[in-house]
């Protein structure tokens, strides 16, 4: 997987993204910029039918080695499957009010939309299916998975219609999707995860139990990550929380510690459930974020973590 050149990064800077506006256009630019499709995508499907064994030869994927056979015979044999299936990817977008925050040209929601659109394009390009769920405290919009190019347009439209609402409940939504999704697939969550880590962890557990491949794109604004503010500030919550008046520079150290603890807890929960955790800083160029994620996926796949 190649990392896009710096020239491309600038084009995909969030400031530039805001100007482009069109999710489809951006998605195509991102994916083509990454030259995915030329190389094998790290996003790949699952095979469920075991055919037979053959002896291992150099070059076979280690993940296909049947270790039980090795244990019995002390010889390496790989499993052969009938075929790899296409997968269904579900993009879950948190459209709660807190996602409305943005210190720069793009809010977290807008950035997440671009990110989701890019991934949707990528998935459709490799002829897998992608669907969308937009939620806050409940599921507001849903696009069933589809592998056609028209799905991109539908997803694009749905994304544009997504408007922030006050509350969110990620945990409940994850549980709902765990029940709704018929077969194993990809679940990509785009959220700031401010509604409660316990619910999220329970949801992740459920999804993991169902065999889904989960990626959590933890979307946060750079100001939320670093609290670079000074002076006396009256913080007004976007989800109707009570206001707080304080001097940010005086609580910064404690705040950063809290951010570290918060993200760390979510990361650990993801690790426990074999979910990918991507901390998305919305000040970073979109293609850099995606490239980092896809590179991580490649390495993970090569290490044989995923089936």
């Amino acid at each position: 997987m190649t990392v896009p050149s710096k020239r491309k990064s600038r084009y995909l800077d969030p400031k530039v993204l805001e100007k482009i506006g069109s999710l489809s256009l951006v998605a195509r630019q991102v994916v083509e910029g990454l030259r995915v499709g030329v190389h094998k995508s790290p996003l790949h499907g699952f095979s469920t039918e075991f055919a037979h064994h053959r002896p291992y030869v150099a070059g076979d994927a280690v993940r296909h080695v049947d270790w039980r056979v090795y244990g019995r015979t002390e010889r390496y044999y790989v499993k052969l499957y009938d075929a790899e299936t296409n997968f269904d990817a579900y993009l879950l977008l948190d459209a709660s009010s807190s996602m409305r925050y943005g210190s720069g040209p793009l809010s977290k929601l807008e950035y997440a939309k671009f990110l989701a659109a890019s991934l949707a394009y990528l998935i459709v390009e490799q002829r897998d299916s992608v669907g969308l769920g937009v939620f806050d405290s409940v599921l507001r919009g849903f696009v069933p998975p589809s592998s056609t190019r028209g799905a991109i347009a539908i997803i694009d439209r749905q994304l544009q219609q997504a408007q922030p609402e006050p509350r969110t409940d990620v945990g409940a939504l994850l549980h709902e999707f765990a029940r709704r999704i018929p077969r194993r697939g990809f679940v990509m969550l785009f959220s700031d995860l401010f509604d409660g880590v316990e619910g999220l962890i329970a949801g992740l557990d459920h999804l993991h139990f169902c065999g889904h491949n989960v990626t959590v794109f933890h979307t946060m604004d750079p100001h939320e990550l670093e609290l670079p503010l000074s002076g006396t500030c009256r913080f007004v919550g976007l989800e109707n929380e009570p206001e707080i008046i304080t001097q940010p520079h005086r609580i910064r150290a404690a705040y950063l510690e809290e951010v570290r603890r918060f993200t760390g807890e979510i990361r650990r929960a993801c690790d426990r459930n074999h979910a990918d955790y991507v901390l998305v800083n919305t000040s970073r160029p979109l293609d850099v974020v995606l490239a980092d994620y896809l590179l991580h996926r490649s390495r993970t796949a090569a290490a044989g973590r995923w089936p």
Partner: protein, 710 residues
């Protein structure tokens, strides 16, 4: 705790400024819509309390800093020493020791009272504090200079001090006091001027004196401490001089003494005594003298002894005895020899230019020499051959001119102490006289002769003389003559002259033309009369003023330097021809203290010099212990005899613009000083603490920011 600027305490309301700013900051908070409120809330759960405490601490510090600054500006003081050492107060005490302080109406003099006040002041001085003790007169006398206060040493200095026979030179003393005051290096300084408040000094303060007082006030606290004085009665002999007579053995002389009543009450039964060589030779009853009145008292004596004679006039005792005596010295001669050089000799009776002069000086002629001078007349052509050293005075009248030898002889004669009187006339040739007597270095003549002239107005009755300024010894006795008598004199012709800068005009016409001039030459003097000696150019010869003036002119020319009384503190300078420069000369002051002084060279001869005279009476000068003593009379300055004083109120009014505090004679000094000493000022300590707290506040605020800022 007293404050020097209590009105500034109103500024303590500024303590509320940090609180106000704190509250305003909250209201001016920037509103931010925030997504990560859950994170913020978790932080604020435990940080908000910490922040409140930090804010409280910083607020307290800031309020305290402002409070300290305001208190420092209000200048609090404390009398409490505790761990703080008591304030260092340096003190200068200047005691008026002028003559008026010796006034003693009862058992104690003003000076005694001044010392008592000084001791009161010293009670408020901490041992070890720097102190300067000064006695003031014509100049300051320092008893103790800027040393740590030692009660024993100061008491010894005070006990040994006494009033000076001087006037108070306030301007000079204030100037030197300013230097002494500046030497005191303490946080607080006080200067005490202890004085009787003599009206002649304090009632007529000059601008320079006022400025001097103001300058002192600028360096510290200044107190004018009045001393108790009960009464200002005082009689004084203010002047004594030879009024008439020739100082010859057996001659009757008249001395004139001026007696003044300076007191507020009339004095009855005033009696003056004339003493010759400390023996009373005459007493004169003066009678009643009203307040401020003066009387001129004639006192007669016959001088029986040839040589230097001490003459004095005394009054009875009064509260200030020092000014009840006036002193003078007379050189009594066996004879006075005058050589008259006639420029127009004649055999006729009263002929010749010098006839009237000889008659004036020796009216009895040579047949009655005892009461007159010995006058010899020679024609002017015989001058060159005359032995001038056989005479005391040479008088030239209407001499046409002089040959070189005669001119040189005259110059030498005068230089050695002889007297020369020069009358002009129709024969006088100014170019010759100018050349012979006016071109030396220095010239002998008091003026350059130009030409004779008559009344330019052409008036037939002549030019009048100016009798209003009879201040010099030669003409002063003429004051006793009626003015209308003097005004009868007329001058018809005289020489126009150009006086030299070093000469003095003793008599002049009413139009200003000099008539009688005087000049010193070596040890002698020259008198120049610009008109004739006879009645050819004026009618003065028939006026009683003429012989009086001539007699006094001769006596004036004969007068030795030591016969001229000095006034304290004038320096004493006496030529001693018999002494070599560099040799030791004995000088005994009126108190009998003898000291040895090295004779110096002055004007080509040895002189003894005393920088100042300090006591009234006779200073005796001896070339050595076996040589006869030459007395020099020293008298008090008459100004100090007026001992009237200003009361505290008047003193305060006199110095009101100078910013100094006047303490009345009956006012408790200790209480006044304690009141003025507000104690140790704390402003510096408070300000220092405020600065320290400011530094602490900055460090704490910065630490909070760094520690909590991540």
């Amino acid at each position: 705790m007293p404050f020097l600027n209590p009105w500034l305490l109103l500024a303590t309301t500024a303590v509320g400024v940090p609180v106000l700013i704190h509250l305003l900051n909250r209201h001016r908070a920037v509103t931010i819509e925030w997504g990560a409120m859950v994170l913020l809330r978790k932080v604020m759960k435990f940080r908000s309390r910490q922040i409140r405490l930090e804010d409280l601490l910083l607020l307290l510090l800031r309020c305290l800093i402002i409070l300290l600054v305001v208190l420092a500006a209000a200048r609090p003081t404390t009398q409490w020493s505790g761990i703080i050492r008591k304030p260092d107060v340096g003190v200068v005490i200047a005691v008026d020791a002028s003559l008026s302080m010796a006034h003693r109406p009862g058992l104690e003099s003003r000076f005694d009272h001044a010392l008592d006040r000084t001791r009161e002041i010293l009670k408020s001085v901490e041992p070890g504090s720097p102190i300067t003790l000064v006695m003031l007169g014509a100049r300051p006398r320092i008893l103790v200079r800027s040393t740590g206060y030692d009660p024993g040493r100061c008491e010894e200095a005070l006990s040994g001090s006494k009033p000076l026979a001087e006037s108070l030179n306030l301007e000079r003393c204030l100037g030197e006091l300013a230097e002494l005051f500046a030497e005191i290096k303490t946080p607080e300084r006080e200067l005490y001027l202890v004085t009787d408040g003599q009206a002649t000094t304090w009632g007529r303060l000059s601008d320079k004196a006022r400025q001097g007082l103001s300058d002192l006030r600028g360096s510290g606290r200044v107190f004018l401490v009045a001393v108790e004085n009960s009464g200002s009665q005082n009689l004084a002999v203010t002047h004594l001089e030879l009024a008439a007579g020739v100082l010859r053995v057996g001659a009757l002389v008249r001395y004139q003494a001026e007696i003044c009543n300076f007191g507020p009450e009339p004095q009855e039964g005033v009696e003056a005594s004339l003493l010759v060589d400390d023996q009373v030779v005459e007493k004169r009853f003066v009678g009643r003298l009203g307040p401020g009145e003066s009387a001129s008292v004639p006192l007669y004596a016959v001088l029986h002894r040839e040589g230097i004679t001490r003459i004095s006039v005394r009054l009875g005792d009064d509260p200030l005895p020092d000014d009840n005596v006036a002193y003078t010295v007379a050189q009594v001669r066996r004879t006075v020899r005058v050589l008259c050089v006639d420029g127009e000799p004649s055999d006729r009776p009263h002929g010749g230019a010098t006839a009237y002069v000889a008659a004036a000086l020796a009216p009895g002629g040579l047949e009655h020499p005892d009461l007159t001078m010995e006058v010899e007349t020679i024609p002017w052509l015989s001058l060159a051959a005359a032995r001038l050293r056989d005479y005391d005075v040479v008088l030239l009248a209407n001499v046409p001119g002089l040959v070189d030898e005669a001119a040189a002889a005259l110059g030498g004669f005068v230089e050695q102490g002889g007297g020369l009187i020069l009358f002009l006339g129709q024969n006088s040739k100014p170019e010759n006289l100018n050349r012979r007597l006016g071109q030396g270095e220095p010239p002998l003549l008091p003026a350059e002769l130009i030409s004779s002239f008559a009344d330019p107005g052409g008036a037939q009755d002549g030019m009048r003389m100016d009798w209003t300024s009879l201040d010099y010894p030669v003409v002063r006795p003429l004051r006793s003559l009626p003015l209308d008598l003097l005004s009868e004199s007329r001058v018809y012709r005289l020489f126009k002259v150009r006086p030299l800068p070093e000469s003095r005009t003793l008599l002049k016409l009413s139009g200003g033309e000099p008539l009688l001039l005087e000049k010193s030459y070596g040890r002698g003097k020259v008198l120049l009369f610009t008109s004739s000696a006879d009645r050819s150019w004026h009618n003065l010869v028939v006026n009683p003023a003429y012989p009086i003036m001539l007699h006094h002119a001769v006596m004036y020319l004969l007068q030795q330097l030591y016969e001229q009384p000095l006034t304290i503190p004038q320096p004493l300078v006496l030529p001693l021809p018999s002494v070599q420069p560099g040799s030791e000369v004995l000088v005994t002051d009126p108190d009998g203290v003898t000291s040895s002084i090295t004779a110096t060279q002055r004007n080509g001869q040895a002189s003894v010099e005393l920088a100042e005279t300090l006591r009234p009476g006779y200073y005796l000068i001896q070339a050595d212990k076996h040589a006869p003593a030459i007395p020099v009379a020293v008298n008090l300055a008459p100004g100090e005899s007026d001992v009237k004083t200003l009361d505290a109120e008047a003193l305060g009014a006199a110095v009101t613009s100078c910013g100094i505090q006047v303490l009345a004679a009956d006012q408790n000094i200790t209480a006044a000083v304690a009141q003025s000493r507000a104690g140790r000022e704390l402003w510096f300590l408070l300000l220092l603490t405020a600065v320290g707290l400011l530094a602490v506040e900055s460090l704490v605020a910065r630490w909070y920011t760094r520690h909590n800022g991540g």
